[in-house]
């Protein structure tokens, strides 16, 4: 966690404009977009044969129990544990405490590698009845609600960018891309959403 006296600046600080845009159908936006900022994003990668111990320890340290099930995400109201690969997760919450230190206090260096990714991601939340259609334009994943359901999280190529897509409910997705792709990503999303009409809301 950075010095609390230094205000974190979003990757989208120059281009993020709230309001309603695009082809609004009867004045209503089909997609709502908001940036999730500032987040604490910690990657935990368990060493060989440490997976079970790391899962149990994260549960005690951070209050969320990651799942070893591929392409899954466990969420409570405040915090999520998203599967990235075998024995590798992203632990995400709104930045209120030094999550890296909280996890690192219990998950020791001989159990897992813990990396603070908070400053290296740009995260957008897409919601609304057309959110799946926006994503369909950029990925080869099956976006049918029966195949990509709430609690699923998939890493894929989205508009030619490596992206992690976390389905929160039928119409709501959190999408993580590398910070340096943030502006391109935001622009391609608003272009894809323009035909449905979109609202850009305040950061959450």
């Amino acid at each position: 966690m950075a010095d609390p006296a230094v205000k974190r600046r979003s990757a989208l600080f120059e281009i993020y404009r709230t309001g309603e845009f695009g082809d609004l159908v009867k004045g209503k936006a089909g997609v709502s977009i908001c940036e999730r900022h500032a987040l604490s994003i910690i990657q935990v990668a368990a060493w060989k044969d440490q997976t079970d111990a790391v899962i149990a320890t994260i549960e005690v340290a951070a209050g969320i129990k990651p799942s070893a099930e591929p392409c899954s995400a466990i969420s409570s109201e405040d915090i999520s544990a998203i599967w990235l690969g075998p024995a590798r997760w992203l632990i995400v919450e709104k930045e209120t405490r030094d999550l890296h230190a909280v996890i690192g206090a219990d998950v020791t260096a001989d159990m897992a590698a813990i990396t603070d990714q908070s400053h290296s991601r740009c995260v957008l939340r897409l919601s609304g009845p057309q959110s799946r259609n926006v994503l369909r334009k950029g990925t080869t994943l099956d976006m049918d609600p029966g195949h990509f359901a709430p609690g699923d999280a998939r890493t894929t190529s989205l508009f030619h960018m490596n992206a992690l897509i976390h389905c929160l409910d039928e119409e709501t997705f959190d999408i993580y891309v590398a910070r340096s792709f943030g502006q391109s990503f935001y622009e391609v999303i608003i272009h894809a959403a323009a035909e449905y009409g979109y609202q850009v809301a305040d950061r959450i």
């Binding site: 591929p70 690969g85 080869t140 998939r154 890493t155």
Partner: protein, 92 residues
């Protein structure tokens, strides 16, 4: 378009993967008995089979795992996929 069944993530489009080379190619090792000829063959020589072929792929836009794929080079049929450290069939 080739669809590859990642052992972790399930069936995904090949755009998520990068090709990682011939999985039949065995590193000759660094012992003094290893000849220059063996290194030359390891470095440069590959078969160009028509039919089932064993190859490495990296799920780079996914779970980032290396996998072994048995693929028919003629039809592009993906016959089997396993984690890179596991054998594909009894033969290996």
């Amino acid at each position: 378009m080739i669809r590859i069944n990642c052992p972790w993530c399930g069936e995904r489009n090949m755009v998520e993967f990068t090709y990682g080379g011939d999985a039949n190619n065995v590193y000759p090792g660094l012992s003094e008995e290893t000849s220059e000829k063996q290194y030359f063959e390891y470095t440069y020589l590959r078969d160009n089979p028509c039919g089932p072929h064993l190859e490495y792929w990296h799920h780079v836009n996914g779970c980032r795992q290396w996998i072994k794929v048995k693929r028919d080079t003629l039809t592009h049929e993906v016959i089997a996929t396993v984690p890179a450290d596991k054998p594909v069939g009894e033969k290996e």
